[in-house]
């Protein structure tokens, strides 16, 4: 499919930026930590899209390697994050992030 | 007709054929399973509708279609509707890359006997099979029923866990073949003179067990354990939606069997002349052998407990698959051209040792069991 000649690089950039912003806003306005986590995943994926597009644009594969690493780190983050959420839930039976402010300075 | 157009049309035709054949296989398999299991349990099985009860699945289908569609209160309608569809689509889609014969030449053009010739086909199958869990999980969640929820919960954990040994055994096969292309994997088995079931015997066993768990079939059918969860994730489904889960399960079974055939049993190769229709017959025979094996397992094994299932997956299957992978890699690096030979020898030796140990352990357990059994007199006294 000859998508490269029709869609400029800047379109991919714009899409990536849009998705990232949506994820960021979502993270800011939601109170459910699981949804917030998913918003982080969305932001990471926006970054991945940018990396893959840049890799194609520069015809260098390093960007794809970075995506690989990002995914690995995301997997690790999800494992630990969800474990934390489960642990918190076990203790409090509720997981509203605004209720969890014991670390206040 | 340009090459691209030709390929598109060929793919389309192949896709339709596969789709139809797979879906038509489902009633056949239902009948077969009922018959096989019945015979194993010294029953007769379906025998009322048609000769040998052959039309029984048809009658069942009609019954399911005609049933009233009950939608329980409080379900999440969108997900509830989608779940059966999600459960069947990946199974069908995964079959797209499975080759069932050598590429043939039609009108001077190469036609692959698979819907799409993807050079990373095996990864594609893995990716799609990892999506299969959504159907069950979402069905369980959306039904607004605690048993269904438990079923879905179990299914998601179980399928994530057993995905890992499947992937690891597949990687061992890929190491042997040096390619991710399913065609290459088949051809490499012919070239090395022995099907992968030889050099990857342990891997084969692991794959069969793990894929059985992936299929959610007995003895690993924790998601629909009727003695604990009524009917698990599909408790609240009736009619055609219920039938779709059924279809999904059987199509998945066919796909898994086909994959096992391709990876371990030399695909479509067999005895006799190497012509495409004979090859096709060989391929189907092997798939059916697998399917009947799965039915046999279902008929003869009791369902295991959920914690046993997870413990088995994490403490036995994954380490064993990892060891298999590491050993395969080491042997390939060390023995180079003679890797197949060495692997076969090592696998058989290990299997023999394994059997011996198993026998030892079993006899010891039996011994202990015998000692524990109280004497009849003592009980009475």
């Amino acid at each position: 499919m000859d998508i490269y000649s029709a869609v400029p690089f800047s379109a991919w950039l714009a899409l990536s930026g849009l998705l990232f912003t949506i994820g960021a806003i979502g993270f800011l306005i939601r109170r459910d930590p699981i949804v917030m986590f998913m918003c982080i995943e969305l932001m990471l994926n926006a970054g991945n899209l940018l990396l893959v597009a840049s890799a194609r644009y520069r015809a260098v594969m390093d960007g794809q390697i970075y995506v690989f690493f990002v995914m690995t780190v995301a997997a690790a983050e999800v494992a630990v994050g969800l474990a934390i959420i489960v642990a918190i839930f076990r203790q409090r039976l509720d997981i509203d992030v605004d209720e969890m402010s014991e670390m206040r300075g | 007709m340009s090459n691209t157009t030709f390929d598109w049309i060929a793919s389309l035709i192949k896709a339709v054929i596969i789709f139809v054949v797979l879906l038509q296989l489902v009633p056949v398999l239902i009948w077969l399973e009922r018959k096989v299991v019945a015979r194993m349990q010294q029953r007769i099985g379906p025998n009322r509708v048609g000769p040998f009860g052959l039309l029984q699945p048809l009658a069942d289908a009609v019954k399911l279609m005609a049933k009233e569609n009950i939608i329980p209160t409080g379900v999440d309608k969108l997900v509830y509707y989608l779940a059966p569809v999600i459960s069947i689509v990946p199974a069908l889609a995964a079959f797209a890359v499975v080759p069932f014969g050598e590429p043939i030449h039609v009108a001077g053009r190469v036609v692959y006997l698979q819907v799409a010739h993807v050079n990373i086909g095996i990864l594609y199958v893995l990716a799609l099979s990892s999506l299969a869990v959504y159907g069950i999980t979402l069905a369980g969640w959306s039904s607004n029923n605690k048993y269904s929820l438990l079923g879905g919960l179990r299914a998601s954990a179980q399928m994530i866990s057993y995905e890992i040994p499947v992937g690891l055994t597949v990687v061992a096969v890929v190491l042997l073949a040096g390619s991710l292309d399913l065609l290459d994997i088949v051809n490499q088995q012919v070239k090395q003179g022995i099907w992968n079931i030889g050099p990857q015997f342990i891997g084969f066993l692991l794959f069969v067990v793990a894929s059985n768990a992936e299929l959610n079939r007995a003895p690993f059918d924790m998601a629909e354990a009727e003695s604990e969860l009524v009917a698990g994730f599909h408790t609240e489904y009736t009619g055609f939606r219920f039938a779709m889960f059924f279809m999904g399960e059987y199509v998945n079974m066919v796909t898994t069997s086909a994959l096992a055939t391709v990876m371990y049993l030399g695909g479509w190769h067999g005895f006799g002349p190497d012509v495409w229709y004979l090859n096709l017959i060989w391929f189907i025979l092997k798939i059916f052998a697998f399917i009947i094996f799965y039915m046999w397992v279902r008929a003869s094994w009791p369902r295991i407990r959920y914690d046993q299932l997870m413990g088995f997956g994490w403490k036995v299957m994954i380490p064993a698959a990892l060891l298999n992978l590491a050993a395969t890699a080491v042997v390939i690096v060390v023995a180079k051209e003679r890797a197949t030979l060495w692997l076969t020898a090592v696998n058989i030796a290990l299997f023999v040792v394994f059997l011996a140990v198993l026998r030892l352990v079993n006899s010891r357990q039996l011994e202990q069991h015998r000692q524990v059994v109280p004497q009849p007199d003592a009980v009475r006294g």
């Binding site: 993270f27 800011l28 109170r31 605004d98 402010s101 206040r104 300075g105 | -």
Partner: protein, 663 residues
């Protein structure tokens, strides 16, 4: 053809260290001692193999070099961990590991009842390792590692019985005095680096040899004086000799190791190693010779009146080291190293013999409470006598040959002269006298110990006696390796020398590629416009005669004063009490140092503590902490505990960063 096993020489004892340090307490005692001895034996074997390999090479190629890995590679400094085995270091490693091995074996018997047995052997091995590293190093920096290593080990071993306050203090004294010398050594090293741009021996020496006049003589003299100052610390010369007599607080094998094989010879070795630098700095050489001669005489004088058997030996070591430096100072580096070797034999023998005595006497070290021991301890007595004769310079014993060479060069060298020779000869007389005094008072005459002790006196166990005998053999015959040409003319001596497979000055010839010859020194001096006075062998014989007569006289005097008329020494002392007290109190040097160095140092430290540390530095630190505290109190409000506030902050930060980056 290459000899690739140099790295094994230091490694063997290092392995021993690790075994004894980490699992030594789990092993049976015998095993842990045996491991330590075997480790040193291993490096001895490799050393001897290396030496033989060197001997098999043509004379001008006798340098084995082995780089192990890059150690420091930053900018201008590029230092490798590399070993070099040339005749000089070959002789040194053989002496260190050979004598060291014998001392280890001896220690297995001597320390048998000590509760910290494995630790002792771990330290001993570490000591040997550090010394071997020092000797084998191919650059100043690696040498410095060994240099500090022996200082550390001397601290650990001298203070081995740290329950005794005196031992702990002696360990600290050794370490601190050494630090002074090390500091000078570092300065010298830095000067070398600044001047020559390298720390590798090969580079530095090649540069000096290629263009001797390129570096101003003043710079060269400063470098050499700094290096020599380092050597005075390590090798116990004036003014930094004070630690060595106190080092007697350690177990006797340790003293033997320090005095004979390791540590104190490091200074001599270093000066010999850097001989190219020194011959281009005649002033420094003169200082070396002067300090050496002064130390020799000074220590011998103190040794005359000491009553602790090990202390006498300690001062004799200081005095003998003075000889070695005198040899180096007149350009006779080979003679100096030769004296290091012979001295290693007889001094190890003396110490181990005295250890044997102390062992038998239940830790009694005062010779006034000994006497007549020869009837109980024949082996010890005989070997001790051999060592005494060797150190006193009785003809044909090893000490005689090496010492006379030094005296001859002191007289004949363009840098020497009658003064140096006279000092040396007087010292030889004193040496003979005080050694005779110790030997007679200990082994002959009437027993002066109490009954209880007397009943328990016994000859030492076999492991100790055998070592004594082996060392005695060395003390007798080592001299034949380097027989002076003058003596070769006397037929039986020449014949005996050839029997040992040696000829005249074999040892010096062997060392010549690494430390140069008198001719080299003369050439270097000529270049610096010094007058050369020719000398002859006739004079050598005459001077030798004088020395021999004086030595015999010294021993005879000892016999007269301590065996024939035991009261006479006391009456002499009474006749000049001020002199006796001066000597007995070691010229009040320790007291002088205490008044001049230690007291002001303590005062300064007190001022720094109370004035600078508490009032300035602590105050600054506390102020910083207070300020941080204030600010953190202010900013604490930012930490609301709400995740989304932090997230908003992050987004804001991202916005700012992107704005800055894309501006």
């Amino acid at each position: 053809m290459d000899f690739k096993y140099l790295w094994l020489i230091p490694l063997c004892p290092l392995i021993g260290v690790f075994i004894n340090a980490f699992i030594g307490h789990l092993l049976p005692r015998k095993v842990s001692g045996a491991i330590a001895s075997l480790a040193v034996l291993g490096s001895l074997i490799v050393s001897v193999m290396g030496l033989l390999h060197l001997l098999g090479l043509p004379e001008d190629q006798r340098v084995l070099h082995q780089s192990l890995f890059d150690w420091i590679a930053t900018g201008a400094v590029h230092t490798q961990v590399a070993f070099v085995l040339d005749p000089l270091s070959a002789v040194m490693v053989c002496v260190v590991s050979g004598i060291g091995f014998l001392i280890h074996v001896y220690s297995m018997g001597y320390m048998a009842h000590d509760p910290r047995y494995p630790r002792f052997f771990a330290y001993m091995n570490l000591f040997t390792f550090a010394m071997l590293l020092l000797v084998l190093a191919d650059n100043f920096l690696l040498m410095y590692v060994g240099w500090e290593g022996v200082a550390l080990c001397s601290y650990l071993l001298i203070g081995f019985w740290f329950e005794r306050p005196s031992a702990a203090a002696a360990g600290q004294k050794a370490f601190i005095v050494n630090r002074v010398g090390d500091w000078c050594f570092i300065l010298g090293m830095l000067f070398i680096f600044v001047t020559f741009g390298s720390l590798t021996f090969q580079d530095v020496f090649a540069k000096v040899a290629a263009a001797p006049l390129a570096v101003p003589t003043v710079t060269m003299t400063i470098i050499c004086l700094l290096l020599f100052a380092g050597a005075t610390g390590k090798s116990a010369q004036i003014p930094l000799y004070v630690w060595l007599p106190d080092a007697m607080e350690g177990p006797t094998p340790v003293s033997a190791l320090i005095h004979a094989a390791t540590m104190v010879t490091a200074g001599v070795y270093m000066v010999a190693r850097c001989h190219i630098l020194f011959v281009h700095a005649p002033v420094a050489l003169m200082v070396v010779a002067g300090i050496g001669a002064a130390t020799a005489l000074f220590a011998a004088l103190i040794g005359l009146v000491q009553n602790d058997i090990k202390r006498v030996l300690a001062y004799s070591t200081v005095s003998q080291l003075g000889y070695m430096f005198m040899a180096c100072g007149v350009g006779a580096f080979a003679a100096g190293i030769f004296h290091v070797m012979t001295h290693a034999f007889f001094k190890a023998l003396l110490f181990l013999g005295s250890g044997s005595v102390i062992h038998a006497m239940h830790d009694e070290q005062d010779i006034r409470r000994m006497g007549g021991l020869s009837r109980w301890m024949p082996v010890t007595t005989w070997t001790f006598w051999i060592a005494t004769l060797a150190i006193a310079g009785i003809p044909l014993f090893s000490g005689f040959i090496s010492k006379d060479q030094i005296l001859w060069y002191a007289f004949s060298s363009p840098l020497g002269g009658v003064v140096l020779w006279t000092v040396g000869v007087v010292t030889a007389l004193l040496t003979a006298f005080y050694m005779a005094r110790v030997t007679y008072k200990t082994f002959h005459g009437q027993p002066r110990m109490d009954e209880e002790t007397q009943r328990h006196i016994h000859e030492s166990p076999a492991s100790m006696s055998i070592v004594l005998i082996l060392l005695a053999v060395g003390a007798v015959f080592a001299g034949f390796l380097n027989m002076p040409e003058a003596l070769m003319k006397i037929a039986p001596i020449g014949w005996l020398t050839h029997l040992f497979g040696a000829s005249a000055e074999t040892f010096s010839d062997f060392l010549a590629p690494s430390v140069g010859t008198q001719a080299d020194v003369a050439r270097a001096l000529e270049m610096l416009h010094r007058q050369i006075v020719p000398t002859s062998h006739v004079w050598e014989m005459r001077l030798m005669g004088v020395t021999v007569v004086l030595s015999v006289l010294g021993i005879y005097a000892g016999y007269q004063m301590y065996v024939r008329k035991p009261g006479s020494a006391w009456s002499i002392a009474r006749s000049a009490p001020w002199l006796y007290n001066l000597l007995l109190n070691k010229f009040y040097v320790d007291e002088f140092y205490k008044a001049v160095v230690v007291r002001p140092g303590m005062g300064l430290a007190y001022f720094l503590w109370r004035g600078i540390d508490v009032l300035v530095i602590d105050a600054i630190v506390n102020a910083v902490a207070t300020i941080v505290g204030i600010f953190s109190h202010l900013f604490r409000g930012l930490q609301t505990g709400y995740v989304r506030n932090y997230a908003a902050g992050m987004v804001l930060g991202a916005i700012v960063v992107i704005w800055v980056l894309t501006r």
